[in-house]
Amino acid sequence: MSATPVLALRGVSKRFGAVQALTDVELEVHAGEVVALVGDNGAGKSTLVKTIAGVHPIDEGAIEWGGKPVSISRPHDAQALGIATVYQDLALCDNIDVVGNLFLGRELQKFGVLDEVEMERRARELLTTLSIRIPSVRIPIASLSGGQRQTVAIARSMLGDPKLVILDEPTAALGVEQTAQVLDLVERLRERGHAVILISHNMADVKAVADKVAVLRLGRNNGVFEVKTTSQEEIISAITGATDNAVTRRAARTNGEVSK
């Protein structure tokens, strides 16, 4: 792991009218590292991701890219730096085939005509290196399963060879098998040296693939944990802000019922 983080947020704050969405947030992501960003609904995860992706420019603080301060005020700035974001709603066109979706907005052309052969070749190559298995690259997205669509959306973000990939709840709507496929893919991104920020509500997923867990609570940092040395309970208490909360009470109650 390199000494300089790929991306570092220093004291980032963001306000929306009367709401202080983020306050003095710090975050570091290194190359070849998966950082899980967790927190309850309204904790500021999505806002934080959107500041990095350039959707909402920050009000205070600094963003450092490879150790140098940068300003990200538009989505285009983030893309130019090498930040790729896969949003929860995937943003794929159902009526266009896999190759078309992968290259949407950056089609390869030859004399002003789409170079379908080269696009198909590169699409197959990309899907092969990521070990993504879909029936055919020439069927419309509509005929793929939810997990396959998610992998196509992630593969699409890889085309520009980004340094940092942000995944917003990639497993939220997926079944067991498809979740495993997406998690495999996240690991492959790490192996290839990409930095990954993974937003997830699912603790099992976080424990399975993340190296570090950054917890947000009410728009503030509430601890960064090494996944290997931290228990799930510790993370949950950091998310909810207390050891006594609905989750632990429920756990205690069900344990009590079992012992009866």
Binding site: L92, L104, G112, T129
Partner: protein, 437 residues
Amino acid sequence: MSVDKTSANVDKTPEPGKHTPVVNPEAASAAVTAVDPRLLVREQGLLGYWTEFKRKMKAGELGSLPVILGLAIICIIFQVLNSEFLSAQNISNITVTMVGTGMISVGIVFVLLLGEIDLSVGSVSGAASALAAVLTVNQGWPEWLAVLVAIAAGAAIGALHGFFFAVLGAPAFAVTLAGLLFWLGFMLKVLGEDGTINLDSDGLIGKLTTYTFTDLAAAYGLAAVVVVLFFVSSFLGNRRREAAGVPSRPLSDTVLRTVLLAVVSFAAAYMYNQYKGLPLATVIFLAFLVGTDFLLRRTSYGRKIFALGGSVEASRRAGINVTAVRISVFGISGGFAAIGGLFLASKIASANQSAGTGDLLMNAIAAAVIGGTSLFGGRGRTWNALLGVLVIVSIQYGLQLESIAEPVKYMITAAVLLTTVVIDSVTRKTQKTAGRA
């Protein structure tokens, strides 16, 4: 005709060992060794076509099949009623008459691909023909210049509608409804008191629908050129695919398609030569169809139109300039409306107050839908306009031969349109369950 080429040429096994080297050989070998077992691979040869065809029918991927079947039924019924229907003269007249409405319908296909509607095309076509007539006859401009100005005006009018829709966010339905009224008024004002301007039937606009290439070689030559071009481009395309190691069609496949195309084009050429020869209008229409089909399916601009019809949000995030594409598509629709208007004016050798009114707008939209363009955006080809307008004009001519009155004509056309929309809705349901919608 419009067989779904993309799905036809992908349902093939990739040849093992023909792949380009990849970074991660372990993962690569795992993915390449076998084709996904869930994928239905088409077998080679004619039997493969048959099984593939049966599967598509079950999955509701009817494509242009209903309209081709419908066309065949229409031909058989009218031929039985009157043996004149399939005469060279009648077919030749049908294919010339359909060009005006067909051109307008091509523009409608573009707008429908966005999932929008343009109700102004009838009025815009009338306004453009009136403008061209006033400029040539009253102002004494050369005809070619008047034609260019009329088409440019149509495109500008369409782009103006597009501006209200794309930039100001007004619903396209309402904007183009306003356009329908405004440009109708504009046309009546331009035509002035007497309301009819006769065009020189030997002039450029007049010749659009009357000129025919009487030389026998013209029709056969065009057919031969089309067939050779088709074969060479498919053959070279397949060679490139093979060289790049992506799935390609076998040679027998290309030959079969070429033979089918050759039969259709030489039959058409023979038919035209039985009457007056190859009509100029038909040649222009075919050229526009080939051109727009190329634009939609082979250029990045066309890909953007399909993307917008699929998901506006996805297109915006992919960096597509949504506003510009929308305005340009409405501009294309207006431009084709103007071209159609010129052909319609040529047919009656005048611009009059009834131009662009009546059932023209509805026929143009119906033609696109009957041909198989989806009303919900993202699915369709400009060839759909040809098939649809062939159906509509064939019915008109057939009923005319039988001397059946106007009211019945409307009712029959309505029944055909309703049938098509019902088929579209039912197959859409089937496609949903088969995961193709």
